[in-house]
């Protein structure tokens, strides 16, 4: 189905010279498509018929063909002899730089796990130590805390030492009731 917004090659191919000037783009497209072998048989026949009558159109076709043929003069760039070899080397290098990443994964995971374990252990010990500190102080001061009422009742430490030396309460200390 022909797009109505696009020039119809068949219409352009069969245009008279007067009609042609009103739609030059369509005509150039037809000429180029003809040179490229992209016109269907009917459109090509119509264009050939016009070309046989229209010298100016033939001239334009010839110019298009001439400049197209000039492109043959464009040199082909010959790649370096080692092009294929160097490309393969690049691929190998590229593959090697990518592959170790995958190969290193188990090592990375193991190292990560070790680091995590060590960090966790250190953290655990530190926390434990911090948490056990008040308890240790409590244990150390337990004797004092238990007798704090007694200590408050006495006047000073010398008085207590005198009592101890006099052995007045020694039996009570040795055999609790």
């Amino acid at each position: 189905m022909h797009d109505p917004q696009q020039p119809n090659p068949q219409d352009a191919a069969s245009q008279s010279p007067t009609e042609r000037s009103e739609n030059p783009d369509a005509e150039e497209q037809v000429l180029v498509a003809y040179l490229d072998g992209e016109l269907d048989t009917e459109a090509a026949t119509q264009l050939e018929s016009r070309l046989s009558r229209d010298a100016e159109l033939r001239g334009r076709l010839r110019e298009l063909q001439q400049t197209w043929d000039m492109l043959d003069a464009l040199p082909q760039t010959q790649p370096n002899e080692s092009f294929v070899e160097s490309t393969i080397e690049m691929m190998v290098t590229s593959a090697q730089t990518v592959r170790p990443r995958w190969h290193r994964w188990p090592i990375r995971i193991a190292l990560g796990a070790c680091a995590f374990g060590i960090t966790a252990l250190v953290a655990f010990q530190t926390v434990r130590q911090i948490q056990s500190q008040p308890y240790r102080e409590f244990v150390r001061d337990m004797d004092f805390i238990e007798n704090v009422d007694t200590y408050v009742a006495v006047r000073d430490i010398e008085f207590l030492e005198q009592l101890y030396e006099a052995a007045i309460f020694t039996e009570d200390l040795a055999e609790p009731p």
Partner: protein, 226 residues
Amino acid sequence: MSQSDSAVLKTQNYRLHDPDVRLMLQVRDGNAAAFEQLMNRYQTRLVSIMEHLVPGAGQGEDLAQEVFMRVYRARESYQPTAKFSTWLFTIANNVASNAIRKLSRRKEVHLQSSPSGSSLARPLDNIAKAASGLMPTRQLDRAEISEIVALAIQSLNERQRMALLLSKYEHMSYEDISKTMGLSTQAVKSLLSRARCNLRDVLQPYIQRGIKPTQNQSSTPSDSED
């Protein structure tokens, strides 16, 4: 026939009729020698087309290597839904477009620092210069013609250049060019028509009379003019 049946038939068709598709399928299966064979087949065509697609850069080989690298990286997901050359030049088109974008960014910086502009920016001025020495006889030798033609091709915009090169040097049909460039067949037809008319407008005055192109001609066509 369902769409999936049609796709399968197409795939089988390319498998049967395109030897390069068969080679690429071997590459997909891990045959490195098949890839070497493909590179040997396409290296000259690819390097040449990249050289002309990315004007003035002199990096045809580098770009062709990039294309082959991409083909190789994509081998595992390769499906023969088109001719191998169509697939290859689609990749080439992408690589060239990226290179041109990078180049134009660099050129912008260069132009800002150098008000005189680069030779790439005014290819038709160069054509005129080249022409001036040849005017007395109009006897153009092949080296001179190739220089003029190369400059004329550079005067086309990126899409016109690609379509023209695929048509001329790869002998691609409008349909194959449309697949390669992701355009409609009608758009390719229009693109090629404009490309060839631009070439004619640039080259004919030079061929016939050695006339320096006018200012209107020397403005490089923009993509919007496609």
